[in-house]
Amino acid sequence: MAVQPRRVRGVQETNRVIAPGQTYGGVDDTVNRPILRNLTRAPRWWFLGFAVGFALLMLWLYTVVTLIIRGTGIFGNNIPVAWAFPIINFVWWIGIGHAGTLISAILLLFRQDWRTSINRFAEAMTLFAVVCAGLGPILHLGRPWLFYWLFPYPNTYGLWPQFRSPLDWDVFAISTYATVSALFWFIGLVPDLATMRDKATHPFPRLFYGSLALGWRGSAKHWQRYQRAYLLLAALSTPLVLSVHSTIAMDFAVAQLPGWNNTIAPPYFVAGAVYAGFAMVLILGIPLRRAFGLENLITKKHLDNCAKVMFATGMIVLYGYVIELFIAWYSGVEYERFMAYNRVFGDYAWAFWALIFCNGLAIQPLWFKAVRQSTAALFLIALVVSVGMWLERYVIVAITLTRDFLPSSWGNYYPTVFDWSLFIGSIGLFLSLWFVFIRLLPSIATSEIKELVHHDMHSSHGTHATNESPLNRTEPEAG
């Protein structure tokens, strides 16, 4: 492939997993060239995006400092609504993270080769989302600086955390998820960092990527162990990712409140997580492929498949809403029935109906291929889905708490400006990390893409084609 020195164009929209005619070196150039360019020559959109993220990050920091100085009273949390925005945001963010692990681990086990182009940035998204998520409950603790009390560590009080509590299960689930995701991501990065090391000309990037690459040299023995380790990590991450959101669902399901105490909660939460996560993959991936000219590697096929997964899980979530209401009625329990009534017609009915619109109606156009192929439509739908999933957690967490068993303890909830600034600020934290990531690290796993290129060449003509492979077929990725 002829690569122009400055702006890599010659991109083509395709429904294959990678555009035809990719070469090993061409993949490197497409992915790495924008990253190795001098920072001062980064495109304007990058500075703009980072500036927005950074400004919101400052808002977040301001809120956190205020929180530490003044305490949780700055939030709208009250009794009965003790869990509000911080927990809603926590569940929302951790759900977003799940798509990354699903793409990188579960789709690897199922040998879905379309995962390869999107796994790197989706895993990065997972990590950053978990960072934002983990900070939610920690900042909600009242004395956030004592968060380490949640871990079993030798202490002079001779105390242990309460292992029977779902809240402590959460601590283990989230910290395992965060560390294992980071490890999986880093292991995947090592060969690509070595590519960056060998490609970089300046001493400083060479040192930076060289140190991170750990001296990777692509030895056959290393690859053998590496591939085994990668497969094992995928096999271990698969039950892990399913367990994490199930554990979070237990926080609710183990409680006795009507609306929380449901056996459907764990699978329904996992479906919701994948749904929200794929929406975020689309929100990040569509601008990314356009801005970096990655259309040859992140093709319409990826967008189409992401949209299909999002749509399928969205329908599962919608089924969850319906069955929750049905079970409330069918159980014959007065409190459950009132919960359902209150959800649909109560003070917060607007949130429920907005949720049905976002997660039920707005995704229906995805039945049509034309919509799944349109980047603008997908981006818009994904944004609506993200809002919808946030509303879902709002409905589950906050609204359930406003009406429990005793009318004397009923009360409404109104978020304060700090609730909002902590939430919007956490988006800034996410965006800042995201923009640093896409600027410094390859957002596509080049060594894995080269394997695909190899298979592509191999399946097209058994000859030893090195640097060209004129593919004309449309579906080489079958099987």
Binding site: F184, G215, R217, G218, A220, H222, Q224, R228, L233, L236
Partner: protein, 192 residues
């Protein structure tokens, strides 16, 4: 295990071993390097390695490498993690600090399942990742193979086969002739 740290010059009889790490042939397709590896194995070479930008299926077998036993180590550590987590919870809740909550049994094991599971995954996953790096001898800032001309292409689009001087059959002239016969892009002698 073909780790390169084993090429201690003192244990080698070949005189070239003092200054030469090996002879490296460079190829531009994965098929060519597999082909070359097969020929080299059949010619009786044992201490050799290939360097490729991506994992090439079948290359490890072509080089005569044994399968990795990483999976067993990971299984063992996973079981260890699970047992340790359950033991910790049992010790905390039953022995060290028993708390009677609603008369429920102290060893309420269903409540311990999630933490046991998470620790199983944690131990197994970190073993998979870190043990792989450790067995590969990484991080390793210097390795003689990096002296190979054009070795930067090994992480881009070229494929290298190295027959190490530590190999019993290694002979500078013969081995070079052998590698030249595999029609590589070039053959270079690499110093330690």
């Amino acid at each position: 295990m073909a780790t390169h740290t084993a090429t201690d010059p003192a244990t080698n009889t070949a005189p070239e071993a003092d200054t030469t790490y090996g002879l490296v042939a460079e190829f531009d397709t994965p098929e060519a390097v597999i082909d070359a590896a097969n020929h080299a194995r059949e010619a009786g070479y044992k201490k050799m390695d290939a360097y490729t930008p991506f994992p090439v299926t079948g290359l490890d077998e072509a080089l005569g490498m044994e399968n990795t036993r990483l999976g067993w180590v990971v299984l063992l550590m996973g079981i260890t993690g699970g047992l340790a987590a359950f033991a910790m919870q049992y010790y905390a809740q039953v022995i060290h600090y028993p708390l009677n909550i609603g008369g429920k049994p102290l060893n309420s094991w269903p409540n311990y399942i999630i933490i046991t599971f998470e620790c199983t995954i944690l131990f197994a996953a970190f073993t998979a990742g870190l043990f792989m790096l450790a067995r590969n001898g990484l991080p390793q800032p210097y390795h003689p193979i990096f002296n190979t001309p054009n070795f930067g292409a090994a992480t881009r689009d070229h494929f290298f086969l190295c027959i190490e001087a530590a190999d019993a059959n290694f002979d500078m002239q013969k081995t070079r002739g052998f590698l030249e016969g595999l029609s590589p892009l070039r053959v270079s002698e690499v110093e330690v």
